[in-house]
Assembly symmetry: C2
Homo-oligomer: 469 residues x 2
Amino acid sequence: MLAQRSTIRHNPGVPVHIDSQGATALLAREVAALSLADLPPGVRTAAKLCVLDVLGVAIAGSREPVTEVVRTALAADGTSAGTGDAAILGRPESVRALDAALVNGTAAHALDFDDVAAAMGGHPSAPVLPAALAVAQSRGLSGAALLTAFAAGFEVECRIGAALTGHYERGFHTTATVGTLGAAAAAARLMRLDAEATARALGIAATQAAGLKAMFGTMCKPLHAGRAASAGVLAALLAEQGMTSADEPLTAHQGLAETQADGFDDTFITPFGEPWYVPQALFKMHASCYLTHAPINALLRLREEHPELPEETDTVELRVSAGHLHVCAIPEPRTALEGKFSLRFTAALALAEGTADESRFTTATVTDPRLTALRDRVTVVPDEHLTQWNGTVTVTTSNGATYRGEADTGTPNWVDDPGEQTPGLLAKFHGLTEPHLGEARAKKLSSAVLALDTLEDLTELTTLASPLP
Amino acid sequence: MLAQRSTIRHNPGVPVHIDSQGATALLAREVAALSLADLPPGVRTAAKLCVLDVLGVAIAGSREPVTEVVRTALAADGTSAGTGDAAILGRPESVRALDAALVNGTAAHALDFDDVAAAMGGHPSAPVLPAALAVAQSRGLSGAALLTAFAAGFEVECRIGAALTGHYERGFHTTATVGTLGAAAAAARLMRLDAEATARALGIAATQAAGLKAMFGTMCKPLHAGRAASAGVLAALLAEQGMTSADEPLTAHQGLAETQADGFDDTFITPFGEPWYVPQALFKMHASCYLTHAPINALLRLREEHPELPEETDTVELRVSAGHLHVCAIPEPRTALEGKFSLRFTAALALAEGTADESRFTTATVTDPRLTALRDRVTVVPDEHLTQWNGTVTVTTSNGATYRGEADTGTPNWVDDPGEQTPGLLAKFHGLTEPHLGEARAKKLSSAVLALDTLEDLTELTTLASPLP
């Protein structure tokens, strides 16, 4: 589905000029020109599902400690009320767009339950939707404008993320860095900046792009998405007022690629159109690290085919890519968060309970003797033949039978149309938001999102997502 | 004066663990513990001169287009008034500390006329003072607290900047990146964060640190200082509210050094004390690129010794480090800004007028036939024996005499006490601020800065610097 990578490598750290033939200018022209009519039906559907997904996880994430920290820190420095206020999701406050983007972006990534884009190598929607929503709301724009801008940001992110070879591997959190450019693209589109000003916004974003993978496991990881959203909005606001930036900031001498990647593969820098990246979004249907999902999916399928399995299981062997052992192999988790990064626990959970949804990640479940007894019979084996997206499982029962399964999480979960994912994503959305919004309000909100392209203004949507206390 | 560099190099781009033995923790302890009494008299004097210098250039820079862009963009997104307002220098508005730091930090670097620190490899005061002033003012703190925090930020910046080997050479604008950590240190000190919270603030700063040298020559360069100031304030605000970050963000796997430097030389990570870096600040006494200063100084001295020189000059040869040819060798500048980056023009100006102060950089002067005729007789020769701080000049007169001179701009301009620089810096301050503030107000303001350690609150100072319209 993705173009073949023909990486232009250079010696890391050694300044070279990367001849890009106008990558930023090309993307800026595409962003400035994109209209809703340019989005094929499947892309439009997929974009709405991304909005639904990230909105749900952001509302649930709005009460997480990291989100409270960001909200409180901003308030401690003075209010930011004024014309064009933007909602804080899940809360009654409205603030300026820059602040709403920061808080909501953090909330969107607080549970690490938002969507993934393989091309980008990160989480595409958490930086883009909060930026776009804040700008669209504060400027009184339509749902169609929001959806178009969201798609523009998503497409820009995936193209740049794919082009920046070795960026994530070097230690940069792509959701933070490339996310800033995606957020800037979406904000620029909503501000109706022309191609020239949009290119400047991308440059102002590129020089603000930051975020270290060393921060994984701390509150800074979700903060990265908030910072990307807010920095992207700032970039567009500054470009709107006439700020200048360097031409071709991605590929210029001492630009983003040269300083923070192994090279720049401009075969990925294509006009919007096939391949569209929005329909390739990978949604997390389990509330744990994405790398635990392939074994979970394989076990859920075995369980469906053999309902007796949970009772009869003796041992479980998981085979995964070796890199997983550094990310999600906590052998005996003690907290809910540790449980999300435990291949053994999530496998036991999936096999025993038939789900790994957000409600199951509690200290009580993680330390439940029935589950830990099963967990202790799970072994994790690194397998060099597997990619990061694949996993295999072998379940042996007490009466000597053996069941094998495998799963692939690198391709999206639809065949003919992205809309096939709607029921599952609606279930996820309602599971996440009903505890905060109530059933009726959550239902109205999901309906509004699925009709986003027809909403004349966003007041109803943001009011539903930001209930009065 | 600086410790010998014994760089720990690693293969750029290849992740390695850098064993730092707690660099961030050490600096955080120093910041949290620093009090005014710890600053020797010379350091205290030097810190006040840095504040005087950066305040002067920021007030003059407050009317520059880039500063207006930032101020207007923030206002377009809604006001940010509230408790604890902080002044915008040179303007009547007060805003939240985060915004004041962004606007004033940009203003401080808008003219590229603020101080330089060789150890840091950048401009130390432009990110730190605006952050510290905004926090101190918004929290009603004293001049002594401000001065202490400023020194803490400056010392942190120089130590980290010196330790991050190859950072600037890779294309990172140290004023932006390391500046974020300096601003965070100063803000943390003013918030009275303990060592543990200060370390978290430095981590939150490190993961926001960004700024590309590709942006030099655009408005993003001064924006970098503003972003560093504001991101540093945000880091401290978030740490104050309990945000977590990674231990040892500078040297952790996939931390700042590993992703953005050749190595980390922790011989520079020392407790505060000798060497103090604040007295090593290099002040720009001419309003042009710092790399033009050595030839200017050499010519000014020759002119003083031989008052007849300007009339009798036939040719001038400048010898400079080869790198200068890529930075400040515009042969025939046409605008004031181009004039600042022209070795030939600045040499002609110094020789003909005996000064290169801000008032001389106008389109009229740059294109004045009398000066361009002299400029056209200046040649620039790269010399591999010279460092970036040194320059030599040879003036040949029409009657065949030859005069040689040289200058070094890498060491500060004092012998026994940093206070020797006071008259020159007062003249610079008044030249920059009187057009904006008037003579009486500027005089009161410079007196207030030179008594900063005795000011019980900063209201008078900020009121003087932020006149009503």
